[in-house]
Symmetry: D2
Subunit: 317 residues, 4 copies
């Protein structure tokens, strides 16, 4: 325990000052990573944007930079669908998808073939498609999507959250890698619905638009900051957080755990939803990605915040 270790987390003014400093610096940082270009609609996003919002256990929320600019949450949605699937089906979900990190990229087919159609975890694309397929449970995509959207809106306490239909349709036409995964799952007997139904639902959930303010609120249930009548049991929250820690940033998850030290889920839209259990829910967004497909500046912001607030779950001081 270092002396004088009242970290900034316990001093609201210090926390604001620190976050202001981080955000002001990163908004103009020259090296911003590379905007995802395989989704045409995302390729033209201006990389010079940076937003951050944080919800604390005292109920306060603080917003910085472009916190109110909406963006495509993409794979961040996987944390929400996992929560829904665990709630509906419990541990039986693990018969269809594993719980181990993958050495391969988020859209890799290699693991799927080696493991005979069982995705390594619910956060690689193949695993998330299976989770969505499970949620559908025989329903039409629109009904499954209604539940997903209801969940996200309820978690955020904000009904003004919508799906970018144009983006979803575009992905349906151009997302060949995901089609490849879906058909592989189908050929392995690990997809219950037709590919276009499960994948149509998946593309729509990825096309949910949120801003940092909404996303930080939506993550409160994972930080234990929600009200009594919880959306998700504490047992499932623990499970989701564990999976976000080991698998939430694809083949860069070890790096994120090392540098940031609390659970998070990233999306190729440049958003990251991260939680400090019992303390904070954080949303950060900057469109440029690092080599693993995670927001470059978003990760840096979380790393600096983690160090300043001593928020790594691995910290002992």
């Amino acid at each position: 325990m270092t002396s004088g270790c009242t970290p900034i987390a316990d001093d609201p003014d210090a926390l604001v000052a620190k976050l202001t400093e981080i955000v002001d610096r990163l908004r103009v940082a020259p090296d911003r990573g590379k905007v995802a270009d395989y989704i045409p609609e995302l390729a033209c996003i201006d990389p010079h944007q940076f937003g951050l919002s944080i919800c604390l256990c005292d109920g306060t929320q603080m917003n910085f930079g472009d916190a109110e600019t909406p963006f495509s949450i993409q794979s961040v949605s996987k944390a929400f669908t996992l929560a829904i699937a665990l709630g509906r089906f419990g541990e039986g979900l693990w018969r269809r998808v594993g719980r181990e990190p993958s050495s391969n990229a988020f859209n890799s087919v290699v693991d799927l073939e080696l493991e005979k159609g069982k995705p390594r975890n619910p956060f690689v694309n193949a695993g998330a498609i299976v989770v969505t397929d499970e949620i559908m449970a025989g329903r039409a995509p629109r009904d499954a999507l209604a539940e997903i959207l209801w969940f996200v809106r309820t978690a955020a306490g904000d009904n003004a959250i919508y799906i970018d239909e144009a983006l979803a349709k575009s992905e349906k036409v151009t997302g060949h890698r995901n089609w490849s995964l879906a058909h592989f799952l189908k050929s392995s007997g690990n997809l219950k619905h037709e590919c276009d139904l499960s994948l149509g639902t998946y593309f729509h959930q990825c096309a949910i638009e949120m801003n940092c303010v909404q996303l930080a609120r939506a993550g409160r249930f994972l930080a234990g900051l929600s009200a009594k009548d919880e959306l998700v049991s504490t047992s499932h929250v623990r499970s989701i957080n564990a999976l976000m820690m080991t698998c939430g940033h694809y083949d860069g998850s070890g790096e994120f755990a090392y540098r940031v030290g609390f659970p998070g889920k990233s999306g190729v839209g440049g958003g990251i939803m991260a939680v400090v259990p019992g303390k904070a829910s954080i949303a950060v967004w900057s469109p440029g990605l690092n080599e693993y497909g995670n927001s470059k500046l978003g990760t840096i912001a979380l790393e600096e915040l983690s160090l300043a607030a001593v928020w790594s779950v691995f910290s002992v001081n």
Copy 2:
């Protein structure tokens, strides 16, 4: 926060009662896993043993079952050598070894070839051999071993910790898979010393004998329970804990994070050293292993303890 949540962790008597119950039950559990048979000396260990020791932040230590029976710590030693290497060389270590989980077994050569001789993390065998090679820094094996042993004894506060020379020699003759890894590293230019020197040191560090009482004490520095003048900086402790979480149980690390939820490092001798940052250091030992090569009953004990004490770092209640 659920109501009435004074978990057993805050009630010493409840904690003792719970641990007593767990240990009594597991000592006689019928399904005990499979003792490692590829190291001849370990193959003949009686699987009907179970020990557990726990150090708490108030300085108390509680011992259960066969907590005083010595065993071969094997890969648990990798946490100690990583601590030494980080202390001596800092972040430069990561030029030689990665920080990502591996989908392959602890002794896999596949990753090593795919990544051109850079092990994925310091806890797979190849990575640990590189860490040991780094620690040697031109010194003879005996000198490097003296430092490793000094570190472990200091961490445990107990000089009665020794290396099982016969076991180390046996591994040197029979440990062909590790020889294969060492020569691969050498051929890739990622081993500074001759294979027999680095590997000789590695086999000896794995052959350190400790009991649960000693091992729980030795883990206190990772839980932040040590005295002021720390062996290892809090920054490095955070790093080691992060790596134990994502990589400490080989290709079963995701499973361990999901079920137990705090960092730990296992060894094929059946020991696990685990830490709840700021709260507890735990050593558990039972020789039978699960499919990933981690103590089967030891993992179950930690999982039950984690649930009862609400010690998962991913918990919000």
Copy 3:
């Protein structure tokens, strides 16, 4: 050269006698392999069938067993489309597909990911889909299919060769693994047409129905038994034969070269078209497959014929 080595190949009566013996025995052989079950229409084929036809350099053709029963040629069609593609585009084809054997199964996605969307050879499914896509050259599937069918009919000198439309349609609905490959190719930029067009054409070419009599005739151009005005240049014949030798039987190609010793292409319908350069064109059919997806009894028949006729291209006596 061993003495008395007038092999049966030089004695028509001996050849007939040997083939009669082989076919009579194999028609009733108890261990017949396993009929492909992943294509519903093929799964119900009676495995107790066996046909063989052989065309010799003197222009004679001999038929045995169920030589006139039509079957689905499936991947045998890949030899024909390769011939067309080489004729139309020459060596430029190799920018899109490799020429090396694969260690993985015919429908593997692993190679494709490792080699960034370039199939290892034109005889694994992914490679054949690329070849078909190349042949299409902007044309509608029906026009490309007309050329493929024209080629096969011309090679066989028989216009009574048709596509099983029902089978092609069935595969389009159930062939998810091929859809997975096609979308992967598309996502890698190695498919010029839409997946459903290229794959529709591919499923139709695989659904060509032929009997052994027709198939043996169709293979004559590869054995150099055709008339002067050749369908395919001798240079391309040499290329196709080389590829059939090293890649024609998927991950069982080494085994086929070792046991049979002349080039051939198999299909999951149980057919094999094989050629002894300058000497014979052989078609054999038996629906049961071995572990690599090649006709079990067909391979045995070719092996025995190769030994008896000293037809391995690797033979020195």
Copy 4:
């Protein structure tokens, strides 16, 4: 059959003229590939050398360029040890080593792990080490080497063939990748002798020095050009030739079959022993290697010769 196809192979003068032209051109070709640098002794070989020798079925032998300069045959030796092993143990050999091409490099460990210690074929390093281990059959390295040397000398009809002891010793010290393979085999239970014995023998067999004149003679048994009392049965010759065709040039074997079209075995010393069954045995040597580790100019010479003489076993004209 094209008209006027008396290829140069049937006209000695034309053959000499063609080979003279090829060799004169290649001796001064500017782009010569890259000399193997991982064996220190080989790294300093002058790349501006080129030799070729050919033995024909009429008993004549023709030599070109640096045909009398000795070089290290390296992996060409694998064809000889395979011949010995097949002669001594027959098909039982295939319990320990496969017969399929590999997608991976000659010194890859990946295949070995995936296939649980059974090398894919006898011509990748791991497979050749197993073949040598089989030949030893409990004997000391010197006795096994005596047999190997006897075999090579007998095949070449020349007792002036020796092992470069200094090179063998150097490889024993620096050949870590082969040590890695040997220990992996040992750990998999697929090496009968101690690693240093099997590998010592292997390093020595690779260090055999021959020139093209000797090597072309030594290959005659594989072309069927030897005298009556054969070293190796015609059945085994066929087997070895098949394996050289599908696996003789590592992961460039498909390319070699496509371009050259007859069986051959290369070595990193830059030598290739190739055979046209029933027609010719050819040795070519040029130290610079292509991307697969096979002689760059040697392959080109064989390709040109094959085309000119219509010697591809896949040719129909």
